[in-house]
Symmetry: C2
Subunit: 441 residues, 2 copies
């Protein structure tokens, strides 16, 4: 009989393991930050003695969701401007709002609000790209969230760094500061091929290689970008990245809306990863990423919300539903991206995209204990014929009841335990007043 | 000083009136089933004395949402089968499940579950088409929901009626039974042009005309249907309906995915109404309805969830977000279907589609008091720059706190007051067991 910290007892367990096992009356033993055992309640009771028991009656217990791409601090700009031409939106709202307001304080409180929202909607790991990411790292640490984050690198000055060299230096600082942290992981993140010169891209890739870290970039988000890059490089952007030596298993591309068969083949050949952001792509009228095609090519695809300026929330359940439906209407084929596949994209495959496939994204012995419990005892989740169907097509973030990350309970019965949400909301409301005034000027 | 039953006090009021007025510190006086006044809190306090005060601090107060097309009792089949070819899904799951299980009991409890879910997600009026609709009418009456419902009419036998004549007789019974009911309204609903002969369509239209009622039908849901009808009639389906004398301001078409410019012109010329069901159309891979084009033609378009077999929930907030995003990616234009327009589709225009524009869909003096209160004090609704943006792009049904229909509080602080949700869920779970077994045979 092994004594463990916690047993989640008597729930319906969706493991998201390779066999997609579901255990109808199951339990999970957690010791420290690790899953000590997953099995039927009978098996777990026979093997483990829990110092604390969390009852999971009427709950679906599954791996925490993995938001593969966001800009956490941009919660401060949620709903600031919508329904506009991209250049109007960027040049008259988002860019000036950022230039006049983004500082470490905004980065801190915006990220805190994002962490509150993400935990409340069942996300346990997020991949972030923005400014002053050391603030985001500190917030995530305090909130107890797992993350992979990087300072965005541009050719031009940002509120955080004056030159791309400063951006690279900031990234190196992050790497050295957060090495060996159990929750915070670092990624090297040049913004895009249209905002970073090839020389900067190469330096960024060299930095990622030096530390064996992932390298992530916005890529082929819309037709305008794809055409511009092809004209500038005299070849497809994917081919150009390949020739620069950027493409490998640690290469993560955000969006990839405008990918053709050749692009997908290049990505598949190099083991590159993709994060699909369907709601943002729709709202900005970027287009529909050919996700069904990517999966046919064997590319590992995760899901992301993108930032709150273009989504406008961080609910991965919404994103799963939209991903599943959008792929069907793109192909006019209702069989593509079935619910089980999409659940995998938000869990197991999402973890593989971020290079964390060995530690999170599925529930099995030895994995980190990142676990969410969904309250199934609700009208809109009744009756229950199929768990995956409910996750993707019926549930929402507000159905998440309890969240455990790295073995620590961060939300219990909808109460956040690591974030003072009232304080965070008050701070962000103050920042928003400042943002509003800055645009009136 | 006028004494009234209730004052909703001190909230942010989104009226959805013709001017799209928003009142930042506003109140609403309700007397009986009617809005007695809407204005600033100061104005309302000076004019009215409320026997009951509902505080609306931190709340957005708006008209209840109007679900323009659903099949309420199909909650019993939620998630029974997804991600399949249409004919596989219909012939091997939905049709046999219906043939073997749909009876008045299923219609009653399935509709009760739908009402619980709809109230919890802010819907106050729904338009329903299914079998044994007298059960649905009774449930809606008990739940205190406003509805427009009709028995589905087919050429062939259904679990409810053996012939189209029986379907018409059932409809006439509904009309006579529910005349003058304050909540239940009746519509004549032949299923579709591919399941009803022209003779039946004409009889149905004559019945609608006899009582001056709306006439509603599934129309042009996918390319297969559009082609089949054009071949059969030797002309476009819209033209055929026009020649049969069906098209007028009381004509409501569900779906209209495959509409071209000529179809839209015909609809606009006759004042026909459309209900757009984007999530169902995506999930069934039907296609993308040209909603932006319909609006340009001046057609009044509402929003619907369709039934739970193809959605799989009844959350109109989800539907608004999807409608706004889908139109943008269809046109590759981020300016179409802005949030304010989409909010209108789910409120004011939705009411006009159902022929209820004079009584519900906006908050102003003399309208029926169908009102929802949304709790804004949540991380994912912070900060607040624009109310419409939050409704369409950030909020979900679970943010609805209190619901009033026809002046009666049916949900308060998320507690349903007119439905025993635990009992309803238990009944539907029993029915689902029966459904599952019926398909194993």
């Amino acid at each position: 009989m092994q004594e463990v910290d916690t047993i989640i007892s008597g729930g319906r367990i969706l493991t998201s393991d390779e066999a997609d096992s579901i255990i109808h009356d199951g339990s999970i033993a957690i010791d420290g930050n690790t899953v000590a055992g997953v099995g039927t309640s009978e098996e777990i009771e026979a093997q483990f003695l829990g110092r604390r028991i969390i009852g999971a009656r009427d709950c679906l217990v599954m791996p925490g969701l993995i938001n593969g791409h966001t800009h956490a601090a941009m919660t401060c700009f949620r709903g600031l401007a919508d329904d506009m031409e991209l250049m109007d939106w960027l040049n008259n709202y988002i860019f000036p709002a950022e230039a006049r307001n983004v500082d470490p304080e905004l980065a801190y409180w915006g990220s805190a609000l994002a962490c509150a929202e993400m935990i409340q909607s069942g996300t346990t790991t997020f991949c972030d790209m923005y400014l002053f990411e050391d603030e985001t790292a500190q917030v995530a640490r305090q909130a107890g969230m797992r993350c992979l984050l990087g300072e965005v690198i541009f050719d031009f000055p940002s509120p955080s760094t004056k030159t791309p060299e400063e951006g690279l230096a900031y990234t190196r600082m992050l790497i050295e500061k957060w090495t060996d942290d159990p929750l915070v992981n670092i990624v090297v993140e040049p913004h895009a091929l249209y905002t970073c010169s090839p020389a900067v891209i190469k330096k960024a890739k060299a930095l990622a290689d030096e530390y064996n870290l992932p390298f992530a970039i916005h890529l082929l988000e819309n037709r305008g970008e794809a055409q511009q890059l092809e004209e500038r490089f005299g070849m497809k952007a994917t081919r150009f990245l390949q020739e620069m030596g950027c493409l490998d298993e640690r290469f993560i591309a955000f969006h990839c809306v405008c990918m053709d068969e050749e692009d997908m083949k290049i990505f598949a050949d190099h083991g590159c990863k993709v994060v699909h952001n369907p709601e943002s792509n729709m709202k900005l009228a970027s287009g529909i990423a050919p996700v069904a095609g990517m999966l046919e090519h064997g590319i590992v695809v995760g899901l992301g919300t993108d930032g709150c300026a273009s989504n406008n929330n961080l609910d991965m359940f919404d994103e799963m539903g939209t991903a599943a439906r959008l792929a069907k209407v793109e192909r006019l084929d209702p069989t593509v991206l079935p619910a089980k596949t999409v659940t995998g994209m938000a869990t197991r495959d999402g973890a593989r995209v971020l290079g964390m496939g060995d530690s999170v994204g599925s529930l099995k012995r030895g994995m980190r204990a990142d676990i969410i419990m969904i309250d199934l005892n609700k009208p809109h989740l009744t009756p229950l014929y199929d768990e995956y169907s409910h996750i993707v097509y019926a549930a929402g973030g507000s159905d998440v009841k309890t969240v455990i990350i790295d073995g620590r309970i961060v939300m219990e019965d909808r109460q956040l335990l690591t974030i003072d949400e009232d304080d965070v909301m008050a701070r962000v409301r103050e920042i928003a007043e400042r943002v509003k005034k800055s645009l009136e000027a």
